[in-house]
């Protein structure tokens, strides 16, 4: 199966990637290769096999409902470009 241009453009939009025409052609070829590889897997008979949620044969450990983390805002916000009144500032998301 080959991915068409529209599908790749849609994926790029969902991933918030801006691709120019040359990049797009390159990505279409490479992604199609991956899809072909996965198609081989799809040919394996899996009728009686349950979907695998996790490769480890283990179940989820639960933690008790206790507050163990203290306020680390000042330290953590040293990684932020811009903060104000304790808030992280980002480009405006609505007009």
């Amino acid at each position: 199966m080959t991915l068409d241009r529209q599908a790749v453009e849609q994926l790029a939009h969902l991933a918030r990637l801006r691709l120019d025409d040359d990049e797009l052609l390159d990505v279409i070829a490479k992604l199609s290769g991956i899809v072909e590889f996965v198609d081989q897997l799809a040919r394996v008979e899996t009728g009686g096999v349950l979907p695998l949620a996790h490769p480890l044969e283990m179940t989820q450990r639960l933690r008790p409902d206790e507050v163990t983390e203290t306020d680390g805002r000042d330290r953590l916000q040293q990684n932020a470009d811009q903060v104000s009144d304790g808030l992280y500032l980002v480009p405006r998301v609505i007009e």
Binding site: M58, R63, D65, V67, L87, V90, I94
Partner: protein, 476 residues
């Protein structure tokens, strides 16, 4: 031709845990921005989510209360979308294997009947943070305190047929999650909010119409208004030859309308896949039975018992059973009184509820305890005070505390039940109003009300009304 409305609700209930669903950060409401957001909540590289046992227990508790199937094995999935208040770029939710599925909740309908609403599923997920768009010079401010707060998303079937039914269903969910102690139900703080899937179809049609999803309704009134607007919009559209587009809409309370979210905010292509950071959750029968054993008597069971055991009407039972605390107060009151359930019910949903409401007090903090109220109601039951006198006593109990008998004594609020004294007063009233007395004897029985009023006036409202009526009839 007429139209039928079809509604399904997705209710998001914040679970009342102390810490977040996948981290040990606190969940307290109203903390300073980003002081309750740790490395896991912020989506730092290299961190791992670890599931909160209490969130799981609360989800199971809900599932059992709606007679649903509890999944022996459930799986967390990543729901992928980009938004600044979702630092990881995905929300951890459940998709194919939710923890709870196929339950039901009964609601009362407008005609007094009952309707069973299918609960398709209830799954665990994490909440996102909050974006603030004002006062940041063209930027948005992000507070991630709420990120990672556990949510139970409760999805109903498309079973609701009007805005009123949708509101009633949401009220029953609201009541139930508080009853179970799994959510504080504070809609103003966003602890309980819902999305409504709304469509219309021609009456008699089996297929569902195209639906619009109205997001983030955080009050009963907004849910009602948004559905009413949306149904009208869709019918207008279809009747003028148009089609309904499947889309996400927002309700604007200021303009009382819904409008489409712009494509940018909308992301229906979530590319779910199992979260490799979390293992499947497996629950065994022992665990599920231990949660079941800890369930309280449920609202529907309690109401059935109240109508049976105490002979109350369905409305009274429903009102008394609105909260567990109020139901418990009522039962304590009846126990103390040794009966008089009807009188007790009237006072709890009447005077007490009104006073709590007026003073903004919860029943847990009531100033008139069941023991105090029982002593007052005993004096109504034995005829010492009338209903209106009792209200005066209640006010004093509320304001100053004390004991009903002492207040009745001190304020001279004892009803005049002494037949001789009443008879003397009634003779005086009749003698003073010969014209009306004559009218009564000529068959104008309506003047009876006039005489009762006169006697009440003469006694300062202290006469026993039933006794006054009886004596007047004899004497006239």
């Amino acid at each position: 031709m007429s139209w039928e409305t079809v509604i399904g609700l997705e209710v998001h209930a914040q679970l009342a845990t102390r810490s977040k669903i996948f981290s040990g950060a606190a969940t307290a409401y109203g903390a300073a921005p980003n002081t309750q957001a740790c490395l896991v909540d912020l989506g730092y590289p290299g961190v791992l989510p670890v599931l909160n046992a209490e969130a799981v227990r609360m989800a199971v508790r809900f599932g059992l209360a709606v007679k649903a199937t509890i999944a022996r094995r459930s799986v967390f999935a990543r729901k992928n979308y980009f938004y600044p208040d979702l630092p990881k770029g995905y929300q951890i939710s459940q998709y194919e294997l939710p923890i709870v599925h196929d339950g039901a909740l009964d609601i009362r309908t407008a005609d007094g009947g009952h309707k069973r609403v299918h609960i398709v599923r209830a799954h665990l997920e994490e909440d996102a943070g909050k974006s603030l768009h004002e006062n940041f010079a063209g930027l948005s401010g992000i507070d991630l305190n709420r990120a990672g707060t556990p949510l139970l998303e409760i999805v109903s079937g498309p079973d609701l047929r009007s805005a009123a039914e949708a509101v009633e269903y949401l009220r029953r969910i609201h009541q139930l999650v508080r009853w179970l102690g799994i959510c504080d139900g504070n809609m103003q703080e966003g602890s309980l909010r819902c999305d409504a899937n709304v469509s219309v179809r021609r009456t008699g049609e089996d297929r569902l119409g195209t639906r619009a999803e109205i997001k983030n309704l955080n009050s009963f009134r907004f849910l009602d208004r948004a559905i009413l607007f949306e149904v009208e919009r869709q019918i207008d559209l279809l009747e003028s030859g148009g089609t309904v587009v499947q889309e996400t809409r927002l309700y604007d309370p200021d303009r009382d309308e819904t409008r489409a979210m712009r494509g940018k905010e909308e992301a229906n292509d979530y590319r779910y896949f199992p979260d490799p950071d979390l293992l499947p959750v497996e629950l065994d029968d022992d665990y599920i039975e231990s949660v079941r054993a800890a369930l309280p008597e449920l609202p529907a069971e309690l109401q059935a018992r109240f109508t049976g055991e105490y002979g109350l009407g369905e409305d009274e039972a429903a009102q008394l059973g609105a909260t567990r605390e109020q139901a418990a107060y009522f039962e304590a009151l009846v126990t103390e009184l040794g009966g008089e359930a009807k009188l007790a019910a009237n006072w709890v949903i009447g005077e007490l509820a009104a006073t709590l409401n007026r003073t903004g007090t919860t029943i847990a903090d009531t100033r008139v305890t069941a023991q105090m109220l029982a002593r007052l109601l005993r004096r109504i039951a034995d005829g010492t005070v009338s209903g209106s006198m009792a209200k005066q006593v209640f006010e004093v109990l509320w304001e100053e505390g004390g004991d009903a008998d002492a207040i009745i004594e001190a304020r001279g609020l004892r009803q005049i039940s002494d037949a001789d004294e009443l008879a003397r007063i009634i003779d005086e009233v009749i003698a003073a109003n010969p014209v009306q007395a004559q009218q009564y004897r000529e068959g104008k029985t309506k003047v009876m009300g006039f005489f009762v009023g006169q006697v009440m006036k003469a006694t300062g409202g202290k006469a026993n009304p039933a006794q006054v009526n009886q004596l007047l009839k004899q004497k006239l």
